[in-house]
Symmetry: C2
Subunit: 671 residues, 2 copies
């Protein structure tokens, strides 16, 4: 038998000759094949599982059979009994070369494995966490070689993992003696950034967890992730307890202005809420929160500052100066998060501008407009709308003051998205009768089972996405005129159009509560949608384009509205409807990406530095676009893609721009 | 008049031509002349004071007069009124070039000024603190340039001080907005290691303080220093409160072994003591302890571990494994030192081996054997003796178990060095009558005023250095035989030699308390001095030398003993008496050097890595030397330098080696 054996790894195709008796894992390391290992080849972690190819591989000019490796070792058998090996799998650290072999490395055995995301159009997350576990055998102390425990641990990490120049947190140092001796000079070490020891466990320890946190003004959400697999183990959300100091952002800043020191209290309650959330996800996943080694945070600038204990007052008025816009790394204990591992680190994504925070950085990381060839518009709608426009060449960002109408606030029958809220609505073009669906029930309201199915929740109001559909359908049915007035002339055609003082309203549902769209509701949405559109349009001007090629709607509101109706109302510019999609909680996803991939941190920090920030408040053109965008459809913009997809009202029934003399006057004045 | 002017700086001799109107400070910076400045040329700090040379300077081929600079500016006049300029001094940032000039930079205007040390033979401390203050003018935020406060501060530090890539402590970030706005966009920043912002003050702030702390098993001492001048502003010491858990080191380790968790309590009390000391030196210097930005610590391994909150149990038995031997940098708050600046940093000097701690690292930094051409022996005597031997080529270190006899413990009339303790003693060679001096009084005991002068303290005992002199004088007077027995035959010659059971004692003073040297006292000192000598001798063997060229005695005991007597008794090897000196609290001086000079930290970390550690406990030769060193003088060593300086007893009355058959037997057995 030959003294050396040829081994070919698939799918990489890397190949090389090794002495008989070399383990598959050793061969993979020498060749730079991506095979995971925490235990360093001791058969403990099971990360290095591989499959042996059987047969003649013409492509590789090699004949490979299972007999060309050593038989299943006692260590492997023990791992199989304890944890279980999939059929046909071997442990790469145990299987040794006896002859030529083709070795397949399945995706789940790769260090840089990819984390599956639900939506196909966005990139997958490549796993490359900042915190890595390394099992080591440490030399025992000797009288004649008086190196300290830490030095011997560092030597072991250098020799066994090629990690050099590591420093160590004091708290890890305080537990180091015990860990090394309890583990009989075997230990597992958590290393942050390849630079610093932040945890030491006796013996073999194979669990490193992280939490991605999205601190919203309304809700705080946390996702507990396994840093080794990228898997989300549990998610939870709670109301942001700061709400008792003010419903929206500006009222919280006002609270601080009126109550000096109030920011301290708001910082305390939001940190407590995060702490409770962590306990909750840990309990749900049945893990010890002390195994959480890393946390990432996103949030708008005011949430960001309050989380960090920085007074947000400066963000309440021009020039909206952030205390810090860079990404920040610190100890979780500095944010009073004491339930997690004592040395757990926090990474806070960078802010972009005074109105555009780390949440938008998260959205960009998730939706990757900076990697796109197409001109991409990403809109994250909350109380403000954050608008990102561009492609791999240039990226622009602005914040537009939409107000809370899209969230159902300032709407007479509006409510937050919750069971019982109308979220879909259609109007019969002939009878003008509505039918609708509510959150929590799949039936339309004209289904005979509807009342029974919604008995528990009732029909309580109309949420943001419901408002959009209601207004768009009212416009398409001719109830709403292009200038936004509810057409009193239609009262003759349907009893649902009713006089309401000097204006008219549209009755959706009688009873308790009665649900109707009033003229003021239309006005509130007109203001919000004009602000949103004007922001996007301003960025298009700056970028020098008249058309966007892709639109992504992020955030809860963006996830629920129908892009078609958003376009009918003119919230967003015209675009091929097939290329308009929603991204869900993209900010939270961005936090998760930053948690699982350290390169993503460098990436977003780079992107944020080159992003162009456009201030809407002082741009005369924003005012212009705003006024022009009040009408339905817009006075100034064509929607060819929309017109091809939707049966829009005939020009004669919607005189468009001509019906908005006020807007046109203003435009002239400001132009 | 010429458009440019020639300027020559003394003492550096650097020269260059500059446009008229250039300030002297600017010219110095361009030429790389070492001129200090905190305020960056704003006439606030007064650090850049210079003197204008007047007359024809043939050497430099230049005629310089005061008229070749601008007249005293309003800024200078204000500084003079507020702080005062020395006669003939100008502020370099204000004086502008009008013609050729010779400019002298006095030592106190240099950044790397030297700190004067009292002893001439050691190197001066070059000032180069880790924490530096920088005054900056920061751009105000603008709506169209949404860089955060930190980013604009970083930009200012880059532009005005060439400091790039600085990060910032969260606690500084939290106060940043206030500081910048309160100072009207002028601020002073403390930068640590040229890397991280640790403090921000509104406007001009010119005070950065540091504390060097020596944590001894008996006393904890602190020196408050001005980081800009290197000056010691105040010093204080307290008893180490751990004494209530055990008088010496090993009894404290035993306490932890007997009382699991006892280390937590010992950590708490020593940190509290350091906190109180800091308050004390701050109060004495009338400064706010929040201005303390940097602390350095030395201490033996057990003190080091307890300060850091690391269980010292491992140091109580072989193999005496340190948890960490490297230098450590952390926040003062991690050591519960909350009175100082919230971001103050701590630097703990490296340990060398299980018995040789950061205190010895401090001694080396202070006494610089590693820079010496001469073979230098440094001995720091406490409960253990730390012994360092070598020169710039090689450095060896060992710890020798001398026991506490040198500190006056285990001696019947022994006591700590305190007023009333005998520290000097002479014996009349003919009458065998003693005369002595006590601590706190300059008179000898045969002075008629002595009793009155010591009425308050009394004569209470004999301290470590007193014991050495007493025994050496007893030997020189023939009372003590070479094998260490008090010669009963002398009882006939003097009533002071008295039978004491089966042995004899020497009466120093009658009354209360009666002070006498008993046979057991001699034995205790013999054991201690033999251990000390054997350690030094062992290192000499390893280094391959028979003679040392310089001896430095460090520590309180080392400062008070007379080298001649130390040599008569054989504590230390033979050496030219002119080259034997004492260093005082060299460990504390080392802490002060590390406080004032960041290069010194890199230096001691480098030295400690290459130092050779010799373990006395397991070296057969140590045992050999120990036995041979019991006699007075040694059985095995010649003292030619000593013999030339001191009238030693005639060989016939001190048969030397031959009188110690027990030692010789043992040597044969172990050899």
């Amino acid at each position: 038998m030959a003294e050396t054996a040829l081994v070919v790894f698939t799918p990489s195709g890397k190949r090389g000759r090794f002495a008989r008796g070399t383990s598959v894992l050793q061969a993979a390391r020498v060749l730079g094949v991506d095979v995971d290992s925490v235990c360093g080849g001791r058969g403990l972690c099971g990360r290095c599982q591989i499959t042996i190819g059987e047969g003649q591989f013409a492509k590789h000019a090699i004949r490979s059979t299972a007999e060309h490796t050593t038989a299943t070792s006692e260590v492997e058998a023990r791992y199989d009994r304890r944890v279980g090996l999939k059929p046909g799998r071997r442990l790469g650290c145990q299987a040794q070369l006896l002859g030529d072999l083709v070795v397949d490395v399945p995706p789940d055995s790769q260090v840089h494995k990819q984390v599956v995301r639900k939506r196909a159009e966005v990139r997958t997350i490549e796993l490359d966490p900042v915190v890595r576990l390394h099992h080591v055998e440490v030399a025992e102390p000797e009288l004649h070689a008086p190196a300290g425990d830490l030095q011997r641990l560092q030597n072991a990490l250098r020799a066994q993992w090629h990690l050099d120049g590591l420093t160590c947190d004091l708290r890890s140092l305080q537990g180091l003696q015990r860990a090394l001796r309890d583990g009989d000079w075997k230990a597992t070490v958590a290393v942050h950034s390849g630079e610093r020891i932040i945890g030491v466990w006796p013996g073999f320890h194979d669990r490193a967890l992280g939490v991605a946190v999205d601190v919203g003004s309304t809700t705080v959400a946390a996702h507990l992730c396994d840093l080794a697999s990228g898997q989300v183990l549990a998610s939870a959300g709670v109301m942001n307890p700061q709400i008792r100091f003010g419903e929206d952002l500006m009222s919280r800043v006002s609270y601080v202005m009126m109550n000096p020191g109030g920011e301290v209290e708001m910082t305390r309650v939001v940190r407590e809420a995060v702490g409770h959330l962590i306990d909750q996800v840990a309990a749900e996943a049945r893990i010890d929160p002390k195994e959480i080694l890393e946390l990432t945070f996103v949030g708008n600038p005011i949430m960001h500052h309050l989380l960090l204990g920085i007074d947000p007052t400066e963000l309440g008025g021009a020039p909206f100066a952030l205390a810090v816009d860079e990404a920040i790394t610190l100890w979780a204990s500095e944010l009073d998060l004491l339930g997690v591992h004592p040395n757990a680190r926090v990474y806070v994504l960078p802010c972009i501008a005074g109105h555009v925070g780390a949440d938008t950085a998260g959205v960009i990381l998730s939706e990757t407009p900076h990697l796109s060839d197409e001109i991409t518009l990403v809109v994250d709608v909350g109380t403000n709308a954050e608008i990102v426009l561009g492609n791999r060449e240039r990226l622009l960002v602005a914040s537009s003051p939409t107000g809370p109408a899209f969230e159902g606030a300032q709407i007479s029958c509006g409510q937050r998205a919750a069971p019982g809220a109308i979220e879909r609505l259609r109007i019969d073009r002939a009878t003008l009768e509505p039918r609708f669906k509510v959150i929590g029930c799949d039936l339309w309201s004209d289904d005979p089972e509807f009342d029974r199915a919604t008995a528990r929740s009732g029909v309580t109001g109309i949420c943001g996405s419901g408002i959009i559909e209601a207004l768009a359908e009212m416009y398409l049915a001719g109830i709403l005129k292009s200038d936004g007035t509810i057409d009193g002339a239609k009262a003759a055609q349907s009893p649902r159009i009713q006089a309401d003082g000097r204006t008219f309203s549209y009755l959706i549902r009688e009873g308790h509560p009665e649900i109707r769209i009033q003229q003021n509701d239309v006005r509130a949405i007109q203001l919000a949608k004009a602000a949103l559109y004007a922001g996007a349009r301003l960025l298009m001007d700056h970028l020098g384009v008249d058309q966007v090629e892709r639109i992504t709607l992020a955030g809860a509101f963006g996830s629920h509205i129908d892009p078609k109706y958003a376009m009918v109302l003119g919230l967003i510019p015209d675009c091929d409807l097939a290329k308009v999609g929603s991204a869900g909680n993209a900010a939270g996803t961005g936090a998760r990406i930053a948690l699982l991939n350290r390169q993503a941190r460098a990436e977003i920090e780079r992107v944020v530095r080159r992003i162009e920030k456009i201030e809407t408040a002082t741009e005369p053109r924003f005012q212009e676009h705003f006024v022009g965008a009040m009408a339905i459809p817009h006075a100034t913009t064509a929607y060819p893609h929309l017109a091809a997809a939707v049966d829009l009202p005939h020009p004669s029934t919607s005189p468009g721009a001509e019906s908005d003399p006020r807007g046109r006057r203003r435009r002239r004045a400001s132009g």
